[in-house]
């Protein structure tokens, strides 16, 4: 879910324009300026990949591009960090595959 409330600790901000992205083929609404990570978490999607050895689910951990846990495929480009990549209209995100760099 998105935070809509504004307070003195969280001053008001207007998101960018609404865009439609697809996560594993399912459409969802996101806003320009959001990362893939934020858009997916806002839609309640927390699993970004499964590990190659034990098939265990992984999601956002460090949120600043350090841990590489949130790797997804974006428009056929493998191993994109969801926490560092902003959404755009018509973006296709795949969480199913495991890609090593």
């Amino acid at each position: 879910m998105r935070i809509e409330k504004a307070t003195n600790l969280l001053p008001p901000v207007k998101r960018g324009k609404a865009v439609e992205i697809y996560v594993d083929g399912n459409p969802l609404i996101a806003y320009e300026g959001e990362t893939i990570a934020a858009a997916m978490l806002a839609a309640g999607l927390r699993v970004f990949r499964h590990t190659p050895k034990t098939n265990s689910p992984r999601g956002i951990y460090c949120g600043m591009g350090v841990c590489f846990e949130c790797l997804v495929t974006v428009d056929h480009v493998n191993a994109v960090r969801a926490c560092m990549t902003q959404v755009y209209e018509g973006m296709h995100v795949e969480t199913r595959a495991e890609w090593s760099l």
């Binding site: 600790l9 978490l41 999601g59 951990y61 350090v66």
Partner: protein, 479 residues
């Protein structure tokens, strides 16, 4: 093709912005490099460009960030944002530093007479059974999501860690309307006054909203427990519950004290690790210092490392907070101006004397915080044999134990036997915990974090597309 410049500043957070601005003011030709599309780093993180913030409603930190960034962007400083520095080298026959870059506007290489590294820090993780489940976030991740993306990490949250940042995270979550099940502070304050720390933290000038933090917690009656930590997470595909335990004064979970909380999100914040990838690749001397988590570069009083012309400032050289980072940036900027003969020794001295009282004050404050909130040694008892320590290569404590039984006595030897630290994050998350696990296994006082060593840092510092490396190889071939 490579370009020669006077000064490269790496990192556009509080330290790097000040360093670039100061050096530029004294006539140094500066290139400021940052991996993000915008300046600010983590502490001064800006809203993404498509977001529109109201101009009169910013927090004090946002206003301060805006002013400093505006000054830098009005100065004759060449800015290379969206640019990764994936390698840094010295050559025996060349007094200049060579930086290997990757980014849309960046040359493949830069040669610089002086380099100021201001690469900041990242969260010190806490490995515990279940910590790889989606729904476990670092404090840094949670802060970014709430403040800059305005997205909830979850509905019912446990915050566990150490230090003042936890209260900021808690207050922001409460303001956003998230239920905070509890805030656990692992450290057990040594004097009673510290029981009132939430209020005392309000005095912490830089986090000027500190009073607001404790007020938000009091008003929402959020439980604040001293001497507790998360010790496990349970769930099928993501977090469904957290197990917490009372800790002994040195951080060992006390058997029988466990409680279970139904939460969907766990945020851990046990302090920060200086980001030393580049300074280690360059090979200046690094040390461990009581109170700091991880390796830090050894520096003199103008923040020069053991390599002449290489400076490290801000949290990248030891966690001290934004205000100290800014002052260190100013000193290093001046020192480079003097080194490149833009100012005299006398001018440098005069300016240094002017900055020194504030610098001393911030250093004292940083030492106080690090002594009270350093990660407790007993936390190393939390992982069990099946707990993953290296998340990338899925190496467990049990596998590290096998490697130690085979004779591995350093983090690099464990790496060779188990692949810890060889995955995508290149050991940034696990390095300090691999060392702590070897220490726990050997249980020998002569085995220190110093003697266990550090992972060898090799280029590329970040995983890069192969095309970028090919381009770099080509540019190296040029005469």
């Amino acid at each position: 093709m490579s370009t020669d410049i006077q000064l490269a500043v790496i990192g556009a957070g509080p330290a790097g912005l000040e360093a670039a601005l100061t050096a530029s003011e004294y006539g140094v030709d500066v290139v400021l490099i940052d991996g993000s599309p915008q300046a600010g780093g983590q502490y001064y993180q800006q809203f993404p460009e498509p977001f529109e913030a109201g101009s009169n409603t910013k927090t004090s930190v946002q206003k301060e960030a805006q002013l400093l960034i505006h000054m830098v962007e009005s100065a004759p400083i060449r800015r290379l944002y969206n640019t990764l520095v994936w390698g840094a080298f010295t050559r025996p026959d060349d007094p200049l530093y060579t930086l290997a870059l990757y980014g849309p506007d960046a040359p493949a290489q830069l040669r610089a007479h002086a380099v100021i590294i201001a690469s900041g820090a990242y969260d010190f993780p806490l490995p515990f059974p279940g910590w790889t489940l989606p729904g476990v976030f670092t404090a840094g991740a949670a802060q970014g999501l709430i403040k800059n993306q305005r997205v909830f990490p979850g509905q019912r949250v446990l915050i566990s860690g150490s230090g003042p940042l936890q209260l900021a995270t808690a207050a922001e979550l409460i303001h956003a309307g998230v239920e905070v099940a509890a805030v656990l502070e692992s450290s057990q304050p040594v004097w009673n006054g510290l029981r009132n720390l939430p209020a005392a933290w309000g005095q912490w000038g830089r986090m000027a909203e500190g009073g607001e933090y404790s007020y938000a917690m009091l008003r929402s009656r959020t439980p604040y427990r001293l001497g507790w930590s998360v010790v496990a997470a349970h769930g099928d595909t993501d977090v469904e519950e957290a197990v917490i335990a009372r800790l002994s004064p040195d951080g060992h979970p006390i058997p029988g004290s466990q409680e279970t909380l139904a939460v969907d999100t766990i945020i851990t914040g046990f302090g920060l690790i200086p980001n030393t990838g580049l300074s280690r690749m360059l090979g200046c001397k690094h040390i461990q210092r009581q109170g700091q988590t991880g390796w830090i570069p050894e520096r003199d009083k103008i923040f020069q490392t053991t390599l002449p012309g290489l400076f490290v400032v801000g949290d990248a050289a030891g966690i001290g907070g934004a205000e100290l980072a800014r002052l260190e940036g100013q000193v290093a900027g001046l020192a480079v101006a003097q080194r490149l003969q833009q100012i005299s020794d006398g001018q440098l001295n005069t300016a240094y004397q002017r900055i020194q009282p504030a610098l001393k004050r911030q250093q004292r404050f940083a030492r106080f915080l690090e002594n009270v909130f350093a990660p407790l040694p007993g936390l190393t008892a939390i992982p069990d044999e099946t707990t993953v320590i290296c998340r990338c290569e899925e190496v467990t404590l049990g596998q590290i134990r096998e490697a130690v039984h085979m004779g591995a006595r350093s983090v690099n030897e464990v790496k060779m036997l188990t692949r810890t630290g060889m995955g995508n994050c290149q050991g940034r998350i696990c390095e300090l915990w691999v060392a702590r696990m070897i220490q726990r296994i050997l249980d020998d006082p002569t085995v220190t974090l110093d003697s266990l060593g550090a992972f060898t840092v090799r280029p590329p510092l970040q995983p890069l597309p192969v095309s970028a490396l090919a381009l770099a190889a080509e540019s190296n071939d040029e005469p």
